[in-house]
Symmetry: C2
Subunit: 435 residues, 2 copies
């Protein structure tokens, strides 16, 4: 297949009238459109406004998708205890499957080709199966909570770790290698030290398994951990083994100098979730400081109850705008920086090689973006457009590993039954929502 258009190959490489040639699961060539049409005359040709790497949602909760909008404007503890946790506890296997399908549906049609997905305590296998079915690239794992968690979500430490291991056996490397496992303790507050150390040991046992958790999202969480352990949250996570190049920490809003040093020195990945941090009033993560220290910072949408959408373009724009107003500097987190965060940095955090840019020999994770809209007119700078103007509805074509998952001009979704998923989601009786 030959995908033609303005090719945004990565955050600093734009090829006007370019093309990307896909053969099998990989990119065979990237370059001038006319040249590549000559060289590959028999490849099926498609035209888009912009051809770009698929984006990476480096911290999402697909299984919260049925909770879209269930707790808007709620105070944080009400949000968690009265809505989100009851929903997660109350969703049976069918609900968890449907929620994950809905999440992947939205990801795929809005240009997310890879997710780092924080599932739930129960029925994570349903979400993992949905990920395989959808064709999305996913680093995902079941949640562990063995303390300070409500009934129905709290598990024995050993039980939680054993279930995780079973899921590693079944899903790590599934979907032709598109699925990789992340051991996923929810956060230090709801996990014993034994559990956290067990997560590290489990991840170390299996090649390529990573660890994904929330860290220092809000001040209450930081205070609870400090009270319990005597250490700052990231220091504590470091002590128990939850830092390193195989660890993805979501949020990292409230960190001190020593914690930032730890994150940088250990090569720990940070996922910035600006809309979620704004909506839950968590604070502003020190993104520029992390980047200056060489930390790999990715972007994530978090879940539907705290962001309402998995559209990656909302976070692209928000990452730049929030950094600018916070720093009082309109040059902060410029468009190329934000774009790199949601592509290459995301792929590094997720732990997939040759993903996150359009380069010869790399994985064919590619999106086509329409630029006919009034809001795309005129279009002076393609990367600026993707960051500040575009949104998920502009994505008309999504390919992962060379497989077309979504093609708006030719029937839409190829792997998921969009109509059925949306209809069932509308009819679903979501736990945690007052009638």
């Amino acid at each position: 297949m030959l995908l033609a258009g303005t090719v945004v190959a990565d955050h600093r490489t734009v090829i006007e009238d370019g093309a990307v040639v896909v053969e099998g699961d990989a990119i065979a060539a990237v370059g001038d459109g006319a040249t590549l049409r000559d060289r590959y005359p028999d490849h099926e040709r498609r035209e888009f406004g912009i051809v770009a790497p698929g984006t990476v949602g480096a911290h999402v909760h697909s299984v919260q998708s049925l909770g879209r909008g269930i707790a808007d404007d709620a105070a944080l503890l009400d949000w968690l205890n009265d809505h989100v946790l009851p929903m997660e506890a109350g969703l049976g296997a069918d609900g968890m499957r449907l929620a994950a399908e809905l999440g992947y549906l939205e990801c795929i049609e809005s240009g997310v080709t890879t997710v780092v997905d924080h599932l739930s305590v129960h029925h994570a296998d349903e979400a993992l199966a949905a990920a395989v079915e959808s064709g999305i690239r996913a680093r995902a794992g079941k949640v562990l909570m063995d303390t300070n968690a409500p009934d129905g979500l709290r598990q024995d430490t050993e039980h939680a770790l054993a279930e995780s291991e079973v899921l590693i056996w079944r899903y790590h490397g599934a979907g032709g290698g598109r699925i990789r496992y992340a051991v996923t303790p929810r956060f230090a507050v709801t996990c014993t030290e034994e559990c956290l150390r067990g997560c590290r040991d489990l991840a170390d046992e299996y090649d390529g398994v990573r660890i994904h958790t929330h860290a220092s999202e809000n001040t209450d969480e930081v205070a609870v951990v400090e009270e319990r352990t005597g250490a700052r949250n990231v220091e504590f996570l470091h002590e128990v083994g939850l830092t390193g190049e195989d660890v993805i920490l979501a949020h990292c809003v409230h960190t001190d100098e020593r914690e930032r040093e730890i994150i940088a020195e250990t090569g720990t990945h940070v996922t910035h979730c600006p809309s979620s941090n704004m909506k839950l009033a968590s604070g502003v993560a020190p993104v520029e400081d992390y980047l200056d220290r060489g930390v790999n910072v990715a972007l994530g949408n978090d879940g539907a109850p705290c962001n309402n959408t998995l559209d990656p373009f909302t976070e692209l724009k928000q990452a730049s705008l929030l950094a600018k107003v916070d720093a009082g500097d309109p040059t902060a987190v410029d468009a190329p920086t934000a774009f790199r965060m949601t592509t290459r940095n995301g792929a590094r955090a997720a732990g997939f090689e040759r993903v996150g840019a359009l380069r010869e020999g790399w994985k064919a994770d590619v999106i086509g973006v329409g630029t006919d809209a009034t809001r795309a007119t005129p279009l002076h700078d393609p990367i600026g457009h993707l960051v500040f103007s575009a949104h998920g509805d502009d994505v008309t074509f999504t390919m992962v590993d060379g497989e077309v998952l979504y093609d708006e001009a030719r029937g839409g979704h190829r792997t998921l039954d969009a109509g059925s998923i949306r209809r069932r989601a509308r009819e679903f009786d979501v736990p945690g929502v007052e009638a």
Copy 2:
């Protein structure tokens, strides 16, 4: 016409399975859908996910629309002096007309039915004519700058005021009353005291003419005015007559206690432009404080060079999210508050009566919003959905004064030639952009 769907009549009134009946330029009835279908059996019927009041862009620069994305990530002075002002100075009559058409096109298709539009020094008549042609409701006016402005944009005081008066004669009340004039000094920095006082006198001479200006958007501006006048910016504007119930001040980010008192006591309207304030790193306007004081706060998108889109839904969401993270309170500027800001408050600021809500006898400024998207699924709360999830592309139907301006299912735009405008905008050689 009978417009059926979930009717969001105003920020606190939702009618499931409702309908809005339009007769002539007004709303004849709002209520239960089945009842109204029985009562008005012969009215043409249309179905939407949500039927809502049109939104009000209470501070826009339609004539900057050709400058979309020309100065992303630029420092403020470069942004203004190297890009925006050269563009405004360089646009001839054709360019100004095209820019305004492009702006109104985007407004109409994304659900804006009323604008408060800050035009430019020259060729404002082209933009006003475009507003009439488009059918949008507009409070608009030519810009006055008689000092500290670059050649090509600086005018003699008398000349600037005289041109304004001619435009009042020609356009105030035009378009069947949809167009009303605002005397529009750019801001205190580029206007002499004589000019500002002249603006007040001119507005007072004509019934229903308002004043629209920028105020206290950034700290440099505030410092310049204080240096020159010895007074804080809003105090100075108050002294020269630029406060009151007929005055719309855009931004008001940097105000002190006394200035806020003046704004509240005089009934001056404030337009909050959150995305613009973030992108230009201007700061965070004290919206909740203004609202607590009883100030009428509306929402605006500002111009394409500092926001990249006139989509009102971006500002709805941003107004809520920015207030929450700034206050550290997830209940700040909740969805109903944001929705009221962009509807009723906007209409009050713009100075149009019986506009901004769906009520019997009020003007038929109505939008239809699709709710089929994955991102709208499930949809627990219609107002929360409009604020946190929806965007301009979901708008499929836009009516002003009972006239259909846009109907996606039946050919799209009715008043503007969308294809021609977009094509010409893409081809236009925009001044201030390096080749």
